[in-house]
Amino acid sequence: MLRVRIVGRPQKLVPSFCRLVHRASASTSDPWNSLISSRINTNKDTTSAEKNTVTGSSTSCNSSTASTDAASSPAGSLSGTTYIAKDNIVTTHEFSTGASRILSNYRSPFDATVVLLLDAAGSTLLGKSNLDEFGMGSSTTNSHYGTTLNPLYSVEVETGKAHISGGSSGGSAAAVAGKLANFALGTDTGGSVRQPASYCGTVGFKPTYGRISRWGVISYAQTLDTVGIISDDIHTVEKVYHVLDKYDDKDPTSLPDDIRNSLKSKCSEDVNSTSLTVGVPREFVVGDLSQEVKEVWFSVLSQLQDMGHTVKIVSVPSIKQSLSSYYTLATAEAASNLSRYDGVRYGQTTEDLQEKAHDLIVANRTNGFGPEVQRRILLGNYTLSSESGDHYIKATQVREKLVNEFNQVFNLRHVFSNDTNVDKETSGRCDILVAPTAINSAPTLEEYHQQNETNFLNDYVNDILTVPASLAGLPTISIPRGKHGIQIMGQFGADQTVLDVSKKLMEVK
């Protein structure tokens, strides 16, 4: 019988070898140290990093690193490639921590579906990357393992020249920018793949919600969480996407095959079209946009026009309410999802003797979660509390309204929509929407901390450009333009259209 002793938890579910090598970058001049854990040692050279990389590693760790040899890789569309997974995606060979102290000793008994699919396609997992704890943040500074810095800039923290990598998939984006692997997996809840990709000058793709299995993805906000792909190379992104775009019966939110097939037949017409209608939602023209970002945005729009597409201004009014809706939903779902972390069955638990089971849980959660996670749990629990009223339902209504407004803007009918009005007037509707990914390029660590000290909501406000596509589950990609990123959004399920346009744009740069 698993014994939950009040004095502590005698049964260790997690063996103690395979120490994480996440390290706060502030203490070292090498930014890579803070990027990746487990299989990769602190070595820039990926080829040598493959060899015996884990401190005190067991054979089970070696068996998969050994397969890094292209020759021994299984045949598949990703044969010979390497990747890094955000550490909120569970794997059996290394710790799966969510960058939280509470899971810092946790090893999953199973691999996430995405990891198994990539394995079958011949790609090799090199290690796990840093993130904002449980995905909560847009800087990768809220991590139990320290900050991940941005490889595009100087990493000298002392001189104040170091920049943040963005977040929450900052470790994944930085790993790709630092050429540690061919691609990286991230997760995007409100922009967590696109924004760090933009800050680190890489491609970051968040597919349609439900396309990629969440089995094995540690939930932050389950109605928003989407596995995303980060790479320098748009073709790699596409290949990886095709490997992962599969129905998974373990994930109750996975899109069933009939929906996928009907989407495939509907979207096929758009492929390689040279006369798309490109929409620019006026609500994205926010005052905070930097001049540089505006210029990049305009240049992309004119490139699209040069390709023969039509650009037009459209309106999605609910974008303005999307931020408050997003933070209501995301924090409420987070408060619920993170309730399971009590240190009783797994994870860090206090050694101090506790009088009551309840005290044990309180101690574990107080010690186990960082300040930002605690803040969001509190916010979420307030939303869910009976005194606060019906914020969750109201936020869901805003979300529905937003989806309907997107449906009015897009040519393609939403696969779940039964609103026949949508089809009445389709002329002049859009195939894709284009907007910047972030209001500016990556701030320095100092700037970031200063802004947050003035007002912690500052961090939340920056999500205005990415959150609408998350709420509507739309496929959205951020493609690099220097140190900025531009988002291409498509209708729900129109992932291929988004990828096709992005490939063309990547050619012109």
Binding site: S219, Q222, E333, D342, S386
Partner: protein, 508 residues
């Protein structure tokens, strides 16, 4: 257990308990019923009741990171069966919600339940004086709703080494929660409802129906004269329910008499009294939220009628049938059969088999209940109906009816069959020959008379003392002689023939 029973019999106020008409008793109950599914509610781990602790636990059952629930449709089907049997309105659209609270046996930190949109609403179960032993001729208990939810792990406290032990085998097992309206007006109604409910779930084969194992768990709400209601949680047996209700009613009546305020609270039952667990103000805010991971349940509009067609006859219909023509069973036997489906099926087969061969089916009643089932009890063997298929027992009954074998021989044969597994499956005719139990049909009446005379004369001469007593007027002692004669002939000759012969020989 024994000491508790002793205590109960000695606490005379419980047995003398009566409701005071000036203090109106009002009660509603909540029942948690563990569904007999093959797998758990949201995972593919098998359900188990007596397995090694923590041996039937999947990744989702213990709340590992990165796991998601997947609804087991069998649980949905079982819940629907019950809902239809209780005349509930099946909700075409229902969904799951999360109810949050922290406890080591709650692995997700929340329970998945149906708070906002339960699967069924507004049903009822009707009690009546004929079958349910209540005072009113009939009483309708309304059912507010039925919801599907997860069970928690099982916590045990070890006072000795001051530890808490948690077994997650029970975690994520499917439960249904049923809530009645506060319609109960006395304790008999509560008892009758629970019993009827237990019979119903067993009959529908959706739950083992036992309170003692925790397959059914009951909470009651009691209020007196419209005062705030008090909830008593986790009552583990029918007598606990009765005793707790009696205690709590008396406590509340005393409080009212003493002008004390009754507060809304949750209490527990210690076996002898109710004790406060928590007040309303201390109630946990469960922070209900829709579980947006699980899809909505959308049912076809005809689901209720479809399921109704597939349901077996309900217990009350069967009781009604068994106590009427042609079966005409006594209520207690009818109830026994209704509560034991295998036995019931056997009985129907036997009855049909006997009746088909132009004999009164009532022969079947007597032979099945008293002789066949009685034989197991007599020699203290567990009833095993497979030992003698219903049509074989019918053969035996008919042999007796046609006087091919005496009642005594038939009884002997039943005992023999039960104790001799090798005889299983052999036709009755063969067994009668094997054990030489047939009536002496091949003898002429004259020969038989001679044989009977010989036997009786020998017994008379060997039992002079008994004969003397009979002649002195103790006529009943003749039965002893008849008994000896029966034994001698292994019951092949009936008692009446011997009785006549003894009377003749002794000039009585």
């Amino acid at each position: 257990m024994r000491s508790i029973r002793l205590f109960h019999t000695s606490s005379t106020w419980l047995s003398k308990f009566k409701l005071d008409p000036n203090y109106k008793f009002k009660c509603g109950i909540e029942i948690h019923t563990q569904l007999k599914t093959k797998y758990k509610l949201f995972s593919l781990s098998p359900t188990s009741f007596y397995s090694t602790p923590n041996s039937k636990v999947s990744y989702f059952d213990c709340g590992l990171p990165g796991t998601q629930p997947k609804l087991n449709p069998e649980a949905l089907y079982l819940a629907l069966k019950l809902a239809v049997a209780l005349d509930c309105e099946i909700q075409q659209n229902s969904s799951f919600d999360r109810k949050h609270y922290f406890y080591p046996d709650q692995p997700l930190g929340y329970q998945i339940t149906q708070h906002y949109h339960p699967i069924a609403k507004n049903g009822f179960l009707e009690l009546n004086s004929k079958f349910d032993e209540i005072k009113n001729s009939s009483k309708k208990i309304n059912i507010e709703q039925i919801q599907i939810e997860q069970d928690t792990g099982k916590t045990t406290y070890d006072k000795f080494d001051k530890s808490v032990k948690v077994d997650y085998n029970r975690s994520n097992m499917p439960l249904i929660e049923l809530v009645t309206k506060p319609d109960f007006e006395d304790l008999q109604q509560v008892r009758a409802f629970v019993k009827k409910y237990q019979t119903m779930v067993r009959h529908l084969d959706i739950c083992t129906g036992d309170l003692e194992t925790g397959a059914i768990r009951i909470d009651v709400n009691v209020s007196v004269n419209g005062n705030p209601r008090v909830e008593i949680k986790n009552l583990g047996s029918n007598s606990d329910i009765q005793d707790a209700l009696k205690y709590e009613y008396t406590r509340q009546v005393d409080s009212i008499k003493n002008n004390e305020k009754i507060i809304q609270e949750t209490r527990g039952w210690t076996g002898t009294k109710t004790v406060s667990l928590r007040l309303k103000e201390d109630a946990v805010d469960y922070r209900y939220v829709p579980d947006s991971e699980l899809p909505f349940i959308n049912l076809s509009p005809t689901i209720a009628s479809d399921i109704k067609e597939s349901l077996p006859e309900l217990p009350e219909q069967i009781l009604q049938k068994l106590t009427s023509k042609p079966y005409d069973l006594e209520l207690k036997y009818a109830r026994f059969l209704t509560e034991n489906r295998d036995t019931l099926n056997y009985y129907f087969q036997l009855f049909k088999s006997v009746a088909d061969r132009h004999h009164s089916g009532k022969l079947a009643n007597n032979w099945f209940i008293h002789e066949f089932l009685g034989a197991f009890t007599k020699i203290n063997v567990k009833v095993d109906l497979d030992i003698l298929p219903a049509n074989f027992l019918a053969d035996l009954v008919l042999q007796v009816a046609e006087k091919n074998i005496s009642t005594t021989s038939a009884r002997l044969l039943l005992l023999q069959i039960i104790q001799t597994p090798e005889d299983k499956g052999k036709p009755i005719q063969d067994l009668i020959v094997q054990y030489d139990l047939g009536s002496p049909v091949d003898m002429s009446t004259e020969d038989l008379n001679d044989a009977v005379s010989d036997i009786c004369s020998e017994i008379i001469s060997n039992n002079a003392d008994v004969v003397e007593r009979i002649k002195k007027g103790q006529k009943n002692s003749i039965k002893f002689l008849i008994g000896l004669a029966m034994k001698e002939t292994q019951g092949k000759v009936n008692a009446k023939t011997f009785s006549e012969k003894f009377n003749e020989l002794l000039d009585l």
